[in-house]
Symmetry: C3
Subunit: 341 residues, 3 copies
């Protein structure tokens, strides 16, 4: 009947189904410039062709999160238009750099389904792959969302995928040619190398950013994520627009430069939770916890596993006595990044 996309409901997903998401996207220096305007991003490897060349790369790649948000945005019309909640991420891996001029498309496979006992919704697990114009996989991750049913009905057989709680460090993919043996800590902004960080160490990234409606809408549209809850103030009684969780990921990651300037490339996403909603006017701060360190086979390149928390509250505070996230915690992200040893 209607020409418009109402989104998929829980009963529309079939286990093993592969969805080719629409609207491939060519990225350029324009998206990089906007990324720098939207986030206080200062990672030298993404900022400077010259710095990247000194690290063995042909030029500065686009920020890993530009790749992530672009791919994620493609999946929204097929995966999360009727989502009640974005429940988690796992097994995220960055497999090849994305360069200005590359065109990304996205594909998702339904790898798990479980109807809720209320019969009104269910959880859908998808493994999403981002592909460039050569068909090379640049990114892969699992996410699971709670999706409404269109109408009550019989539950499909429950299949819950077996997901790794952490991407094993020996499987991390280091970009071809990356070499940190001549790494310039001065130009990068901080003197700390991997061996300077201790497991369990908490880093307060100090700075805060008070977020504005215009900014998060610009950012969310940039990734062609047009879910109305981020743009339409009439969707909620209080007239607020829910800030896209990916905006918090990039904001916290950029703030983490202050203390983690040398955590240069994100290569794996182990887990992630959008703990509480964020709205315009909130002042967002970030802190990190060092969870683990590892070696890689690339010269001078190590890996650090970090918990990155975006919060309106204090550094180091995450959960209450009840084990639940504190109300001012916005994001809890667990990832691997590459750092000079």
């Amino acid at each position: 009947m209607t020409k418009t996309n109402a989104g998929r409901f829980f009963e529309d997903y079939r286990l093993g189904e592969v969805i080719d998401h629409a609207v491939p996207r060519t990225l350029s220096g324009g998206e990089r410039a906007l990324y720098h305007a939207l986030y206080p991003a200062r990672g030298a490897l993404y900022s400077s062709d010259a710095f990247a060349a000194d690290c063995g790369l042909p030029a500065a790649p686009l920020d890993d999160l530009i790749a992530f948000h672009t791919v994620f945005g493609k999946t929204v019309p097929d995966v999360s238009l009727n989502a009640v909640a974005n429940l988690g991420y796992a097994e995220g891996r960055w497999l090849a750099p994305v360069w200005p001029g590359d065109t990304l498309r996205a594909q998702s496979e339904v790898i798990g389904l479980k109807q809720n006992s209320n019969g009104k919704s269910g959880v859908v697990w998808v493994r999403t792959r981002g592909l460039n114009q050569h068909g090379t996989e640049v990114l892969s991750y699992v996410r699971w969302v709670m999706v409404r049913r269109r109408a009550p009905g019989e539950a499909p057989q429950a299949v819950i995928p077996d997901l790794a709680s952490v991407v094993p460090p020996e499987t991390l993919v280091v970009p071809d040619g990356l070499d940190f043996t001549g790494y310039d800590f001065g130009l990068a902004g901080e003197p700390h190398r991997l061996s300077d960080y201790s497991v369990g160490e908490i880093i307060d990234h100090v700075d805060g950013v008070t977020v504005e409606e215009a900014e998060h809408m610009l950012a969310t549209r940039l990734w062609q994520n047009t879910a109305k809850v981020h743009f339409d103030a009439t969707q909620r009684d209080d007239g607020k627009r829910l800030i896209y969780g990916g905006h918090l990921i990039s904001l916290a990651r950029a703030l983490s430069f202050n203390g983690l300037a040398n955590a240069q490339l994100i290569v794996a996403l182990n887990a992630g939770a959008h703990a509480n909603p964020c709205f315009s006017g909130d002042t967002v701060r970030a802190w990190s916890e060092v969870l683990a360190t590892a070696e890689t086979k690339a010269p001078g390149v190590g890996a650090v596993r970090l918990r990155l928390v975006a919060t309106k509250g204090e550094a180091g505070a995450l959960r209450g006595a009840d084990g639940k996230y504190l109300s001012d915690v916005l994001l809890d992200l667990d990832f691997w990044a590459l750092m000079p040893v």
Copy 2:
């Protein structure tokens, strides 16, 4: 005396006069990225070099409305600085794609003049042409505006141009090489081809965007349109800034993706009215009416004539019993777009 531009008044225009507008502009992937950040634009042909190549083009052109706004912006200091109202558009034709790296300039010929009976203002008709760095005409349209007189005085002989109410579909210019025979509806985002649309069909584009001051100012400046009413909150008693009508055109066009994802290129502007002013805080929605369909000579390429309405109200509602636009209607645009048959 003064060095600054006070703009032209009605008595400054001469029939047949050709005005070369100032400040040519080179466009790049930066303008494309900003367009995606400012509007929820998802047309695959403008988003992806790969998709455009599969449609026979050398790369993704810049959005037709980037070309339109850039050319329009150039004309503002000479045509509409003292305009009381932007009255209409006609005979708009897109004649050649604009590519990243192209430089656009604009030229207008005065083709009509008619003083109002009050002697204080008059209507000026101009035919504006956009030219690229090779001197190729990329765009042409007529608009007419009501302009104040500097001082009362004798009226020039009234000349009202004879304008087509619709650009005849057999004169539509299809970009060289465009071929929709292998069109990928999956990547484009919707399955509907030209034959799926019926004349008279109304499409509610569902989504809404609540507009912010910072966004419309960024957009309007991007086209180097610096008319103060869009930027200076002291110009009105209520402290509001009038949103540039072109911002509404792009916003509504982008929203129309949901239901018209395959209306890929705008090739003609038949008519247009900025029915009511729009201000920050308004939540803008869009709906379309299919007015006509037509063939073209390009393989697999048809044309659809659409009425695109931006509104704060209900889909399908346009005029009251008095024949006037309803107060929540912001824009009524009539154009031809190319669509796979």
Copy 3:
């Protein structure tokens, strides 16, 4: 102990010390597009490759202030994180154009130190140089800031550098190849050449822009200036964010197009004062005073020395009877620009 950068305090600076600032930056057409979105910039030489080519340049350079802000932003973490006030600029010289694709880095030499009599702070003078990827100096300027001491202590020997009050016009560097003999005043936007301007002439640039939080934060981040006072609304009791002084420089410069469209390139910064703070909601206007004119050796190219004032008040009003800046004056900038003779 801590991994984060607390910034330098007065006692951390040594006379003659050279600081290599972190995070080199590659600029592209993306930064140019954003500059046009953030400021009402219309200078034809920066807007159009074709216009620049007609003036003897290989392409349109990036705006001189893009170069300035990029270099300035690099210095913030080392120079002004603990600054109480940005006191002045001198001997600024643009030495080579910056092109899309260039990578800029920055270096500062401490050329003066003077502890205040209160023992709690002192003035630091630095000469900052911006270098491109070839090691070519593209920009050089002196600025001095008042910086807090970490703890009270003995004053270093006071050294106050001997700075020129004006960059001598015979030392201005004109970009290679620049030739204004065929300058197209029509395309540039105004007919006024250097000989049309008189020393002492005041130009009211007419237009005003009401500034928004989202805009100045986008702009300030774009230059990787992340000083928290511009971003964190909890830093002040009134919840306002201080607008980066550089934002005012670019805003006033862009507004000055209306009356100074042919003051094409900034080649020297003689002096500058951020007279009063600016906040979101302020409506900023600009006026200029012609301070001097000069010849250059390049064909058709002259130089004009301008005072550019950003203000919330009236054109021409600068200081009160007490000799102090009026409270609505935001910026007082003294620079040389190149203009067709």
